[in-house]
Amino acid sequence: MTLSDPRGTVEDVPPAIEADGLVKRFGATTALAGASLAAAEGTVLGVLGPNGAGKTTATRVLATLLAPDEGRATVGGYDVVTEPHRVRSLIGLTGQYAGVDEALTGTENLVLIARLLGQPRPAARARAAELLEQFGLTDAAGRAARTYSGGMRRRLDLAASLVGRPRILFLDEPTTGLDPASRNELWDMVRSLVGGGVTVLLTTQYLDEADQLADDIVVIDRGTVVATGTPDELKARAGAAVLQMRPAHGEQLEVVRRVAGELAGATPTVEHGTVAVPAADEALMPAVVRRLDYVGVRLAELTLRRATLDEVFLALTGHRAVDVATADQTDVRETA
């Protein structure tokens, strides 16, 4: 395959995951409104979007759990609608809600999957032990998954999706609800999987997660793709960092806004007496400090922080990332 060919380019390899114009409606809700994406073999595609954007729906369509209303998708070259069984033989899925059987032990959960995949009993046991070892669950192997912590359950879930050595892995918000330590562990596991040649589609609500793991990012909002690119490209467009300034005297807010906007070449937002502006360039902070000092503005607070998803959205789409799920619920309540 082209992967081992040093002259090979991405274009030579058919995408491991390819979706074209996916539409999925649930009654009045349009969860996917013509979403297209592609992941090259052996890479991580980050699907970034707020709650309710359609990430889970897209994952479920690609993992053959849900038929799209329109559009088509192939995984590993097979159509997800017409050849679901073949697609399933290539993929692993870790859903947003851990799919482990809480009434079974760690070992039993993995043996179950291995047996379902047709492995003989001894091979299934060996495979389970191997994965439990790799995911640091050997000590808990004999305990019911019900007694596991959130992080352990996630790891067991990921292990379960790897039993059949999938070539393509879907991870739907794998780190939501995890503490930072478990999150970092999971990131390392994803990296080692990709190192082994697995293609990963990972959905997330966190820009830094996509930044950490993804080769390419697709930003989705209300079921449509609003931006595509490498993390660097998106950060260049949206500003990876945000410079936040609060003048000591409220009446100087306008001056700060003007100066920051001029130097950053972007439109600042003003909220709660604080001006925030995308900081694409490291030189922005000293420049702003010098200029504000020159015009006699004293800052009570000055911070350089990572851009939130909301700010990336604002920069990429011109509107804020609305939480569609909650917005929908409000709509329902209003119309009820």
């Binding site: 090979g8 759990l65 399933r88 033989s89 993929i91 799919g99 190192g195 082994g196």
Partner: protein, 278 residues
């Protein structure tokens, strides 16, 4: 993006070299996957002692309570009552057990386990057929427990071993057909607690408004009309016939017809619910 992978491949996670190219699971694979799923549903009991209680202690308690509390009043003596009531207790217990199909399915749907199964290259129906196979095993276990407890308390099987086998067969046939209602309930409710509430709301009146525990003649006329056609009554009578003697054929046929009716109505509905709601 780099295609130059320097990270060494991890043997535990490296992808399989070539995928199986089959378009769907073969019948043999379906059978073995169903057995694996049934194994899973039985192993669950090991980690959930309350279910073992449901499966063993509860039927025993019912036998003891009904025999010693109501037996004298309803049947004249505990002995005579046990000869009458055990068939009814078996029928009632079997219907209660069908709820497991629904709670198990609802739990799998709620927890995402069902999605995991559906993402595997296995037969579409294996998660369901495996669960039902597991539930049949539960039925048989419970039936054995009831018969043993009954015999210990003085119940006398007066028919042939073949007739007892017939009782097992009838019970399994009816509960298999009836479990389609349970499948539908599990898929629609998607929540094991709701399943319990809805399920027992139907099953309590269905099983108690029958001749399982008291003879039909002792009831008011309007109730007798229902009790005499109630599938639980017909199965209880068939089981009595098969265990202690009496008319079998008409009751067994009525039971099976009821089963066929449940399957004919709820089978397609359940399949529709699985197709559209899962």
């Amino acid at each position: 993006m780099t295609l130059d992978r320097t990270v060494p491949r991890d043997p535990a996670t490296a992808p399989a070299p070539s995928p199986p190219a089959s378009r769907r699971a073969t019948p043999a694979q379906w059978a073995s996957q169903s057995v694996t799923m049934a194994w899973r549903s039985i192993v669950q009991i090991k980690h959930n002692p309350s279910e073992l209680l449901d499966l063993s202690i509860q039927p025993i308690m019912f036998v003891l309570l009904f025999t010693f509390v109501f037996g004298g009043a309803i049947g004249g003596s505990t002995d005579a009552y046990l000869q009458f009531s055990l068939g009814g207790l078996i029928a009632q217990n079997a219907l209660f057990l069908t709820i497991y199909t629904a709670t198990g399915l609802a739990t799998d749907l709620q927890k995402g386990t069902f999605d995991r199964f559906r993402s595997l290259p296995i037969a579409r129906s294996a998660p369901l057929s495996g669960r039902i196979l597991g539930d049949v095993l539960r039925q048989l276990w419970s039936l054995v427990v009831l018969l043993v407890v009954g015999v210990v308390l003085g119940f006398r099987i007066t028919t042939s071993p073949l007739a007892v086998l017939g009782a097992f067969g009838l019970l399994v046939a009816f509960t298999l057909a009836f479990s389609w209602t349970s499948v539908l309930l599990g898929v629609l409710a998607r929540d094991p607690e709701k399943v319990q509430i809805y399920g027992f709301t139907v099953l309590f009146p269905l099983t108690f408004a029958s001749n399982a525990f008291a003879p039909t003649q002792t009831m008011p006329g309007w109730l007798q009309a229902w009790v005499s056609i109630n599938p639980v009554s017909r199965m209880a009578d068939a089981l009595r016939g098969l265990l202690v003697g009496g008319p079998v054929a008409a009751n067994a046929i009525a039971t099976l017809l009821w089963g066929a009716a449940f399957a004919a109505v709820f089978g397609p509905l359940a399949v529709w619910a699985l197709r559209t709601r899962v």
